[in-house]
Amino acid sequence: MKRLRFFSIPYLAWMLIFIAVPTLILIMLAFSDYSLYYPSRFEITWVNFQIFSQSYMSKAIIYSFGLSIITTLICFVIGYPVAYYLANLPEKTRKIWLALLIVPLWANMLLRIFAWEKIFTPLSIFTDLSGLSLDLLGTNTGIVIGMVGMYLPFMIFPLFSVLERMDYSLVEAAKDLGATDLNVFFKVIFPMSLGGIVSGVIMTMLPAMTSFVLPARIGLGRINLIGNIIESKFMKEVMGSGGLSINVGSLISLMLMLFSVISFVIITRFDKEGETLI
């Protein structure tokens, strides 16, 4: 084992350079007025927190949470039965279904967003085929459908992995003891899949909440989510703020990272072996 440790050095170096150092820089920028572009002063300050008093920021936070919660709920309602069904399929057919779920994920995310965008135009290929017009660009419905399409597999996989490993003799035992199907589900199956539910919820909600290309394209730029504000702080406002918008962007990013870490802690509490994290 000790000899093998050597081979982890490249990975550790990678983590240090591309995760640890950037995070430190992010923290340094978020809590200071140090301008990355015009280095002059360095003072620890809370001034970047002022962004959270802007009404457009609170709107963006509410929208990000709102849309991602709705997305997650829909993914759960669709995903749970699918995962349950998959878990109970015979080995061979299950593989085909899993492949059908995984293969689309290999297509570039941007391409899939552009595809949704095409389908949601008033006169799309969908209109040619069905005669119906899905005029959903620029609407919350369009964004939610796009997000569900994008992140549904992230709900299904963790649920599938707990349901597949579940000990079905317990289900049989419950039935033997006279529990109704509904009772079996709510008292046995559901509690045992809780770890997968927590992972699924977080793994769907986090990317949905932080997406920024999707609202810009499918939302026609009418809807600003947290991701769009971070993008603007890092890309569009740099000159005008003398580089300080980057500090504000770092702070918002840091808050999102904090949220992710907390979420991760919650997952590991429900799922001690980390088996649902794919």
Binding site: Y56, T121, A216, L220, G221, R222, G240, G242
Partner: protein, 358 residues
């Protein structure tokens, strides 16, 4: 295995040979698709200078690369307001016009020259292309063309639920359009006027916010009209001709609008200043300039070239020629200046606040 290795090595050798054929280098930062690259090859051959050409997507990207100072750039092609900012921050240096043998003969359009002279650009820039912002619209929507031509900027802001209007998702352009609609200067610093612009942008309740994808949305029938750069319209026009598609869109430039100009400037961090001037002068040669402007399709700022390109466009494309002149007689034109950092930040906040989020 050995054969493959030899092959690979010789290939690498040939590649290094062609890549470093000339000792002198010139680092150019330009927009994508904004220069006929066969002319760059010609320049390389003639002057034995290796041109490293890097395309960027926005003025802000250009600025970031300059500020970061981790590479040499000898020539850049920023637009009006960014030129202003670079001059303010002392990031670019005056052009040595005595080294540009063809500049005088080409004759910069005097109205354009006086516009940028007002902003104090004259010593720093060699104009490269110019145009306007205006309204692109679908010609197959009943009544839309009349509406746009009679209402001008108001068409964009008061189309209500009749037409779906799109706005540029860039704080400077969106606020400028609102200021033009209200009859103020695009460079207004007046708090009250900016506040009015903000409510105009909010009340307009645009159907879409985009950048150069707005033109595509008009073609896809997601939008009926939108604020676009004249360049957006021209490129869409040429593309339609090339694909032999029917032209079902038009472009209207209201009487008073903003003029944009991209110019060649030399940053302070440039190291090959002599080659930079040679490069500029090469692109000012009449035959080179003609070929280049024909290729990029935007209005040349030089009278001699402009007239020839205009005649060509008139004979090739007819209708396009009517909007090709960025500054027709009797119209009102302004050019962006950077203003202050405070104004730039305020514009960004206005843009964030007017998004409906609904």
């Amino acid at each position: 295995m050995k054969k493959a290795l030899v092959l690979l090595l010789s290939l690498a050798f040939v590649l290094t040979l062609t890549a470093c054929s000339y000792k002198d280098k010139l680092y150019v930062l330009n927009w994508g698709d904004y220069m006929d690259e066969s002319l760059i090859k010609q320049f390389e051959k003639e002057y034995r200078i290796d041109v490293k050409y890097k395309p960027v997507g926005s003025n802000e990207d250009m600025a970031s690369l300059l500020i970061a100072q981790n590479a040499v750039y000898d020539l850049i092609f920023p637009s009006d307001y960014m030129i202003d900012k670079f001059i303010q921050d002392e990031m670019i240096q005056p052009i040595d016009f005595s080294l540009l043998t063809h500049f005088e003969a080409l004759e910069v359009n005097p109205t354009l020259a006086s516009l940028y002279a007002d902003s104090g650009f004259s010593d720093y820039v060699v104009p490269y292309a110019w145009g306007t912002i205006g309204i692109m619209y679908r010609t197959d929507k009943v009544g839309l063309q009349d509406f746009v031509e009679s209402e001008g900027w108001a068409a964009l802001f008061e189309s209500g639920s009749t037409y779906r209007a799109g706005m540029y998702d860039s704080s400077r352009d969106a606020v400028a359009a609102a200021l033009l609609y209200l009859g103020y200067s695009v460079n207004s610093e007046d708090g009250d006027e900016l506040e009015q612009a903000e409510s105009a942008l909010r009340d307009a309740n645009f159907h879409a916010w985009g950048e150069d994808n707005l033109k595509g949305r008009i073609l896809a029938n997601t939008l009926d009209l939108a604020l676009v750069y004249s360049g957006d319209y021209f490129s869409e026009y040429y593309a339609a001709i090339e694909d032999e598609r029917a032209i079902n869109f038009g472009f209207y430039v209201p009487e008073s609008t903003n003029v944009w100009m991209d110019a060649i400037v030399i940053p302070n961090i440039a190291q090959n200043i002599n080659s930079a001037h040679l490069f500029i002068d090469f692109f000012l040669r009449e035959e080179v300039a003609l070929q280049n402007y024909e290729w990029i399709g935007y209005a040349p700022p030089y009278i001699t070239i402009y007239d020839q390109i205009y005649d060509q466009i008139l004979s090739d494309f007819g209708g396009l020629a009517s909007t090709f002149d960025p500054y027709p007689q009797g119209s009102l034109r302004e050019m962006y200046v950077y203003g202050s950092n405070e104004r730039a930040t305020e514009l960004a906040h206005i843009l964030a606040r007017v998004k409906p989020n609904q």
